[in-house]
């Protein structure tokens, strides 16, 4: 059939190993929290996913947690908050209620999960947050954060952009959803990244809401009013792919006339690079399973856990897209 299977086969790409960095501040050991020791094998672990698994990132993320849980023979409980913050709080409370002794949380938002963390604290359950950093206190409210540095991602996208354009050009930014701190960080990182390159100017920044068709529609408008756009920075792959469709329809050659750089590392975008119709993708690594369970295991053993564990993000560009294609999710 014409249906292209997008099933991610396994979560364990090579990028799953972490380049751990310990940031400022003391680490967190179990002794400091006074939490009881929990033997990982056979334990009940709760995972609260924030959004529906309809985008490749979430699919890969949940799958990674599930795979790793199976490896450690833990009893995994999974909930999905369906983008509803109040539901995520309820979800986490219900996970605790259902006997979860360890928690992995993919927060929907940086703020607002305090009541859930308080509930976990009351039951002395350590919480590992992944992919999005929350504003609560590490070690007291939650154990540690494992994830990418979104600002850094934006900076790396900027570097790719400077490299591809040679430092001159007019850039359109396709922003993520308004009010979302991923959007905020990726915008900040990118702008900081090109700050030292006066040849690159941002001529438009409009939200495509992380959505492919919105990205396409916005790009269609921008290419009409600013026909001299030479580069597009999309804050996720979906919008970037949408922009490619719009550029092609306007008679431009994406990747050549107009450079396209985005963040995520989905199969579709990386394939486009390999095919020569896309410039670069900065990966946002969704494979948190191994790191998350490792961390929980270490914590159980009483080892010191750093406040932030940064997962290593790969990069795809025209030089490596073909051979790294299988790493894309």
């Amino acid at each position: 059939t014409a249906r292209e299977s997008q099933q991610t086969t396994s979560s364990g790409g090579p990028a799953a190993s972490a380049a751990q960095q310990q940031s400022a501040g003391p680490g967190c050991a179990r002794s400091r929290t006074g939490y009881p020791q929990v033997e990982l094998e056979g334990a009940t672990v709760g995972f609260s996913q924030s959004e529906k698994e309809t985008n490749p990132f979430r699919t890969a993320e949940t799958q990674s947690i599930r795979d790793e849980a199976a490896k450690h023979k833990v009893n995994l409980l999974v909930t999905n908050a369906q983008s509803d913050l109040n539901k995520q709080i309820s979800d986490i409370k219900s996970l605790l209620d259902r006997g979860a002794k360890l928690l992995i949380v993919a927060p929907l938002n940086s703020d607002g999960l305090q009541p859930a963390f308080d509930a976990a604290k009351a039951k002395q359950v350590p919480v590992v947050t992944i992919d999005r950093k929350v504003t609560s206190q590490p070690c007291t409210d939650y154990l540690t954060f494992i994830g990418s540095d979104f600002v850094e991602q934006g900076k790396r996208a900027a570097q790719q952009m400077i490299k591809a354009t040679g430092g001159t050009g007019k850039v359109a930014i396709l922003l993520g959803a308004s009010g979302n701190n991923v959007t905020v960080d990726r915008t900040k990182g990118f702008k900081d990244g090109i700050a030292g390159t006066p040849g690159l100017t941002v001529v438009a920044e409009q939200t495509g809401e992380f959505d492919r068709s919105k990205g396409q529609a916005v790009m269609e408008q921008l290419i009409q009013s600013n026909p001299d756009i030479t580069a597009v920075y999309a804050e996720n792959d979906e919008m970037g792919v949408g922009a490619v469709t719009a550029l092609k329809a306007a008679g431009k050659q994406p990747g050549k006339d107009v450079k396209v750089v985005s963040i995520d590392g989905t199969r579709t975008a990386v394939q486009l690079i390999a095919d020569g119709g896309y410039t670069a993708v900065v990966e946002s690594n969704p494979r948190f399973g191994p790191l998350a369970f490792d961390t929980l295991e270490k914590f159980g053993k009483g080892e010191e856990i750093p406040q932030n564990i940064v997962i290593s993000d790969d990069e795809y560009d025209t030089t490596n897209a073909q051979q790294k294609l299988n790493n894309a999710y």
Partner: protein, 322 residues
């Protein structure tokens, strides 16, 4: 208690009345012209063929949905499920695309028809309020689409199917042509056919229409079914344009865009009246507003507030006077 003598000149009064009435009927056209003029002057590269083409292509799917919505609103109903139906159509396309685009499109339309008929059944036969009846499908329909698609976006490669969204016919993009033809067909349907007049009568006074022996249930089921099919057509076209089946985002909030366009076009939500040309211009107006805001690179916050103001202004002008 005495009211002072107000011997107004009735002639001027009549003339003012006539002028407000004219504006009330034609406000949306005036607004479109005004916005075009504004852009011609203040927006760079606006007066190009390519730009108009873009606007039309983007407006076409909304228009197709809005046409169905206008009919439903004419019966004093509303269909909140159109976006979900678009998602269903999108989810179904890749399942059958292997057997040829025609079958795939047909199956998508069948899904729209089924969904619409189901809505119609709930509204007409079970007697549930349209908002609630279609809300159920709004909530569940997209979920169903995601279940069908296994929650995945699927890239499409069938060239014949993709041509629907990218190619021209008679110098016009195919989707625009289809939208135009559908608009003409719906205009004929409302004004020239028994079905159309019965629809409006039902919207105006359902009890009286029932007692007049009109086939109320049949018309209602027909209207919702038509709306479902139109939403599915729109879903098919949008999918082909996107080059991917994306049930998670396809048609998101389309119900609100369509309702806004219909109402801004002068069709009252109280039923009993359908303005097809007004709906076409309502869609164009909202499209132009969005385009203008993007082209002037306004931040999302300002853009949303301006859209709100324009909706209120347009509906204010077109409102029925007491």
């Amino acid at each position: 208690m005495t009211l002072p003598a107000t011997k107004t000149d009735t002639k001027t009064a009549t003339r003012t009345a006539a002028r407000t009435r004219w504006l009330q009927d034609n406000g949306v056209y005036v607004a479109v012209v005004a916005l075009l003029l504004f852009n011609a002057v203040f927006t760079s590269n606006f007066l190009t063929l390519g730009n108009f083409r873009t606007q039309l292509v983007q407006a076409a799917p909304v228009l197709i949905v809005a046409l169905g919505m206008a009919l439903v609103i004419g019966t004093e109903g509303v269909d909140l499920s159109v976006g979900a139906v678009m998602a269903l159509a999108a989810a179904i396309i890749p399942l059958y695309l292997g057997a040829g685009p025609l079958l795939a499109i047909l199956m998508a339309l069948v899904a729209g028809l089924t969904a619409g008929a189901f809505n119609g059944f709930l509204v007409a036969k079970v007697g549930i309020q349209p908002i609630v009846a279609t809300l159920a499908l709004l909530v569940g329909g997209r979920g169903l689409a995601l279940v069908i698609a296994d929650g995945q976006l699927v890239q499409l490669h069938d060239p014949a199917f993709l041509a629907l969204g990218t190619d021209d016919l008679l110098g016009l993009p195919i989707s625009v042509l289809i939208a135009a033809l559908l608009a003409i067909a719906i205009a004929g349907l409302t004004n020239r056919t028994t079905f159309g007049r019965q629809l409006v009568a039902i919207g105006d006074n359902r009890k009286a229409a029932t007692l007049a022996g009109l086939p109320v249930n049949r018309v209602l089921v027909g209207v919702y079914t038509l709306c479902g099919v139109l939403a599915a057509i729109s879903g098919v076209l949008a999918t082909s344009r996107l080059g991917a089946s994306d049930p998670a985002d396809m048609g998101l909030l389309m119900e609100l865009s369509a309702i806004t366009a219909v109402v801004v076009g002068g069709t009252p939500l109280t039923g009993g009246k359908v303005r097809v040309l007004g709906t076409v211009f309502g869609v164009i107006l909202m499209q132009l507003v969005r385009a203008t805001l993007i082209k002037h690179n306004l931040p999302d916050s300002i853009a949303q507030m301006i859209q709100a103001a324009i909706i209120v202004a347009a509906v204010y002008v077109a409102r029925e006077r007491r």
